[in-house]
Subunit: 177 residues, 2 copies
């Protein structure tokens, strides 16, 4: 079997956080920066009613439609997909109303990823791969392979996992070693 | 780790074929029976334009909305889910327009299956489970666990796999051994 690498979607190939902060700052007239979120999740530092509002936005199918692509992810993922079995494994069951928007976003921005290599799941213990690149380390607990944490403000102080800070790190790790 | 069992959706818990035949017979004034499909898929015995029409119907999001539940599947699956890790793994990427209908059908008919245990995928090699119950044996080729074929007219002559004919067989296999 060739090496199989599973990539999370939100926070790894899709830049959710930038849009969340844009909506938050615009709606509530704030100036929160990514650096304000080091070691914390957004819902830990904003009032509950603001979190509820943001969740409502994220449950709207249009939220995922125009997310920015993470820098260099298209270039590196296309190269990786020629050498490895590459799967996109998104915890999409959190936002069932967004299945189609997420799927269409993937087909638009990563047309070289075939339908057979897209997975919408809830719990990633079901993912059978050698590596899982994810910004949420809780997915690694029952994952059968090696979890690699993709740096995001909320996980910046987490230890105990191999870490990649960006897509150049992923390129280096899998394509130049 | 407790034992994890993955169940296919169409043909195992959802009765797709009955609806396909109903549509086919009604639209083209035919009297095809399930027994006419022993060892064959529908598209092998009907004209290509009829297959195209049926595919068009299946791409309509409403096709999956009112599918019948396979006999005894709710009762047995609920019992299994108390003893094992049970996942529903549907090759839903074949019909991206049906994500929501499929998800809603699951939530309506199998409310005890949590979001975390639902997987919409393409290629089932990505499924990490001890068993995969599926009516399509091609999914077993790269599956990491044991494939168990669920009898459907098209697979009735296939050999080489453990077979269950219905949900009573599944109950017997996992709950009374």
């Amino acid at each position: 079997m060739s090496i199989r690498i599973a990539f999370d979607m939100d926070g790894v190939i899709a830049d959710c956080l930038t849009k969340e902060l844009e909506i938050y700052n615009h709606t509530f007239n704030k100036t929160l920066l990514k650096s304000d979120l080091y070691g914390k999740k957004l819902d830990m530092i904003i009032p509950k009613e603001h979190t509820d509002y943001l969740h409502q936005c994220m449950h709207n199918k249009d939220f995922f439609k125009d997310l920015k692509v993470m820098e260099k992810s298209q270039y590196v993922l296309e190269k990786l997909s020629k050498k490895f079995e590459v799967f996109i494994t998104s915890a999409a069951m959190e936002f069932p109303s967004s299945f189609n928007a997420k799927y269409n976003w993937l087909k638009t921005n990563f047309p070289f990823i075939s339908d057979s290599n897209i997975v919408f799941c809830g719990d990633k213990r079901i993912v059978n791969a050698n590596y899982l690149i994810d910004d949420h380390s809780h997915h690694f607990k029952f994952f059968c392979g090696q979890g690699i944490i993709f740096t995001a403000p909320h996980n910046i102080f987490e230890k105990g996992y191999k870490r990649v800070n960006n897509w150049s790190d992923i390129e280096l790790l899998f394509l130049h070693e």
